[in-house]
């Protein structure tokens, strides 16, 4: 008897049918993105071996929410740094040379370091969470190893019966290869 595994859907989402195009030229891939958007296609994936601003402009995606993770992490780190140093000072108060028990200026160092530490860690958490979330929604889609080397790629999720016009569009934009996946 097999039990449902909720993690399987996150890490191994079910396959999504569609069309995969391989582009040797950046401008051809950009033209294809613009044409797909004009044609009302949504949810397609663009592969690129490096980030290119031309693709970013053509895709016009919303700003990544990772910045909120960084901000919240930074604020939390600063607060924890302040709490740790102040609470521990008052919990074990030792008077030295008439100095204040909870003295803010030297604790700024701790607050700063904790801001950076938590900010960096939550940034990583943010990228991991958002990328995983997007991958779960998209499902397992086709990939070509050349996309990490010197080719650009576009995967359009579309049922096999309706893939003809998409294939024609991608070929028309200058795709080197177009295949059903």
């Amino acid at each position: 008897m097999s039990f449902p595994n909720p993690l399987a859907r996150v890490f191994r989402p079910p396959p999504t049918p569609g069309v995969l195009a391989v582009f040797g030229h950046l401008d051809a891939a950009v033209d294809a993105v613009i044409a797909l958007k004009r044609g009302g296609h949504q949810g397609f994936t663009v592969y690129s071996p490096l980030p290119r601003h031309e693709l970013e402009h053509a895709l016009d995606q919303p700003v990544s929410p990772v910045r909120m993770f960084t901000l919240i992490g930074g604020i939390a780190g600063c607060s924890i740094g302040a709490w740790v140093s102040l609470y521990m000072s008052y919990d074990w108060p030792v008077q030295v040379g008439g100095k204040t028990i909870g003295s803010i200026p030297p604790y700024v160092v701790i607050m700063f370091e904790m801001t950076v530490l938590f900010g960096a860690l939550t940034t990583l958490l943010g990228i991991g969470f958002n990328v995983l979330l997007a991958a779960t929604h998209r499902g397992t889609i086709a990939y070509d190893p050349r996309f990490s080397n010197d080719k650009f790629g576009i995967f359009v999720p579309v049922a096999a019966a309706q893939s003809g016009p998409v294939e024609t569009l991608l070929k028309g934009c200058g795709a080197d290869e177009v295949r059903r996946a």
């Binding site: 051809a28 592969y47 900010g119 960096a120």
Partner: protein, 454 residues
Amino acid sequence: MTMTPTTAPERTTSRVTYDVVTRTIARTLGNPGRGYYLLLGTAVGLFAFGVICLLYLLRYGLGMAGYSMPTYWAIYITCFVFWVGIAHSGTLISAILFLFRSGWRTAVYRVAEIMTVFAVMTAGLFPLIHIGRQWFFYWLVPYPNERGLWPNFKSPLVWDEFAIGTYFTVSTCFLIMGLIPDIAAVRDVATGWRRKLYTLTAIGWRGTNEQWRHYRPAYLYLAALATPLVLSVHSVVSWDFAMAQVPAWHETLFAPYFVAGAIYSGCAMVITLLVPLRKLFRLEQLVTVHHFENLAKLCLLTGMIVCYAYSIENFVAWYGGPTPERQAFWYRAFGRFWWGGWTMNICNAFLPWLLWFKRVRTNITALFVIAFFVNLGMWMERFVIIAVHLAGEPFAPFVRAGYNATWADWGIMAGSFGWFFMWFLLFVKNFPSVSVAEVKEELPPPRRAAGKHA
């Protein structure tokens, strides 16, 4: 390692194409030749010697460390500050130059980042060795305990612990972040066990628009967080000394002086590492003389700041007039350890003047030699500031006990070099030592019509 065939390189305006970049960097993961194994063997040998010395130290106690009143901070703290300093240029090149959009950093920043992580790892060993009873290291950590004791957060030593811990974590995150797209690139051309390793460590990276959308700003935020961190860490290290009322330590100049010195020694170490690495891995096409020249310019800038700091601290000791301060600087120059003081002056303050000449900056052999002496000088600077100024502390005649480093001290120091180079060499052999994705960013992308903007 073998690679699966890929398509012919695209026609671009540059000789170096995306495919050439991937293949050149993937080739470094193949058989590196006899020279590499010779270096690795030497590093492991040095490390083993250091471990033996450390075991002696553990067995016979800190008496083996050559300490004598009042010199209780000596070789280990010198090595700690030296290695933390070495770590600094990594984040400078990867974070600060990233924010300044310096394109040349792409070919060298990975080596600098790897150096940073392993240098901090090496530095972190020394406070533990220094405390003597290493098994109580966790007393440094603020944890609830039955006696209700907490660390003193007003102490610069506690600040240092937080600063170094944060620096190690953030620089490791930065290194891993940059590596992920590059591991994916070599995963797709690798075979056998390496393919499995890279599949696991690339954590599903495929370069999709959704991945880049989150990756790009995240990298920017990490760089923005790491930039003030670089400046803060060595400032905090300098306050370990500047907060104490020891002549030649109690200086407001220390924070910028230490930060500049750290970046100076770090850049010199990047040159020291890059020269043999470029030769061993045949990276001449990607790491060019232009990159070395820019590193030399960074060395020149920071070397001039260090030269200014040396001048001003000597001047202030004379001009300010307190007798202990004057005596400390006199002792540095003409006391028992005069050789240390003059080595640091010559290597750190005088030698970088040669870098004003373009012929020197563009001569890789000359740069390698200069970088070696800068590293020697920077180690000596920390030794002079720490051990020599403690040994010459002019409070009372009876404390002038001097300091004699033992073979265990030198052995542990040599072992730290072995430990650092061992990790560095193992890493560059198994993971991309030059950024694949970022080097490609500096190349013109393949377009249907040359010169046409997409």
